[in-house]
């Protein structure tokens, strides 16, 4: 009996701890939580629909159901999420589509697909219209942003390709990394790097350019540091614009529009009020532009 009592007390303590953490992470003006969360869900739906259509238009093939069928299913489920009665069914459908996509492309599945699956699962389990769900929903989304930022930095630190700028120098094999690297290394060194073919024996990709080495180390320091700054309510006003600036810098080279958009939307959840409302038209335009680019209507400038 004493053991049972101790177990109950322990469970209550854990429950109180989780509730405190949720309050800490979900701390916000209660009157805007619902709007804020619905805006996030809108961005999520726009991103997953646009991404699925872009895959279809890019001719990504797989076994049945086809990517076109998946895009149609995603769109229908996405539309359903805007109807109060169909919302949960819509997100259940999006979860199913993402499980299928993760399964089909495993192990090559991109991390943004896992992120979308997690976000759709949260939307299935929690509802911004239910007052009791708002704090844990907001806290979970914010926690996800922190987790992704922190581990992204930690992995760069642990794998050791950023200490001497090796990753960034190697990344110039992809042309879209060159503009950002070119102002960090001397012109002659940049020309040498760009001439290297990524085959066995090629290199060295070490440059020793101080600016490149400094910027390279700043990447993981910034990611881990921003994760910590986002956690603490007092430092959030500083952290959010820094996260935005960091994402702009990263996406200017990496050009992962879908992941970047979701992450910006997640980071905006740390801002007080429902400031994230302003991004919906921007995201809608960006996603439309990406789909039209995939369809060949707009010229190819950026892509995932």
């Amino acid at each position: 009996m004493e053991g049972d009592d101790a177990g109950v007390i322990q469970a209550e303590r854990v429950g109180r701890g989780i509730a405190r953490l949720a309050d800490f992470l979900g701390d916000d003006d209660p009157s805007v939580r619902r709007v804020k969360l619905r805006v996030f869900e809108t961005v999520l739906v726009l991103v997953v629909c646009a991404e699925q259509w872009c895959h279809t238009l890019a001719g990504v093939r797989g076994t049945a159901p086809s990517t076109g069928q998946l895009a149609l299913a995603t769109t229908l489920c996405g539309l359903a999420t805007f109807h109060p009665r169909l919302r949960r069914g819509g997100f259940a459908g999006l979860v199913a589509v993402h499980v299928l996509v993760v399964w089909r492309f495993f192990p090559a599945t991109g991390n943004h697909r896992y992120l979308e699956l997690i976000l759709c699962s949260l939307a299935l389990l929690l509802d911004p219209r239910a007052e009791a769900d708002r704090v844990p929903y907001l806290a979970s989304l914010r926690w996800l942003v922190v987790v992704v930022l922190f581990y992204s930095g930690l992995q760069k630190l642990l794998h050791g390709y950023y200490f001497q700028g090796l990753y960034l120098a190697y990344a110039t094999v992809e042309e879209h990394f060159r503009p950002i690297v070119s102002w960090m290394v001397p012109a002659a060194e940049a020309a040498r790097l760009y001439a290297l073919q990524p085959t066995v024996g090629s290199g060295p990709y070490l440059t020793g350019a101080p600016l490149l080495v400094a910027a390279s180390n700043a990447v993981y320091v910034t990611e881990i540091g921003l994760a910590a700054l986002l956690l603490v309510p007092r430092s959030r006003p500083l952290a959010v614009p820094l996260v935005m600036a960091f994402l702009v810098a990263v996406e200017s080279a990496a050009r992962e529009a879908f992941f970047g958009t979701l992450f910006v939307s997640g980071a905006l959840l740390f801002r007080p009020g429902a400031a994230n409302r302003a991004v919906v038209p921007v995201v809608a335009l960006l996603m439309a532009a990406l789909v039209l680019t995939g369809a060949g209507v707009l010229p190819r400038v950026v892509f995932f």
Partner: protein
Amino acid sequence: MVARVRHGLVAVLMTCLTVWPLVQIGLCFRYDVSPWKLAGWGMYAQPRLGASLDVVARETPDGAGEPLPPVAYDVMVEADRFLQDWRWLRRLTRPDRFAQVVFDALPKYQALEIVVNNQVLDRGTGLIVTEPVRFAYVRQPAVASGTGGSSR
């Protein structure tokens, strides 16, 4: 579903998501799994380089090795499938199925050595180098998969 159950599920989900990247990092260092995949959030932590296959076949387990002769399309497909998995999972996967397909296609061979040449960006020299991983298989009557071991 009552709110308490849903909130409990969310707490479990978030706990798993917080801990999983540590497991994924463990897989990266233990099995060379790519940090880019499996939701460990290690995108851009390591260059994405490919790998190639060399296969040495033997008519007897102790006999002289010879390069694999031209093989049928399905053998090539299996090799490609293995390499695609290998690119991300590395030593978490093995070419067992590929070895079996080769044994099925070429009955005269009793042993195979499959060498996977990983391309790696060497952190010390900054050069792209190969790191071979070897798998040895001996044909076993009525046994579907190889009995390979790997060494690095």
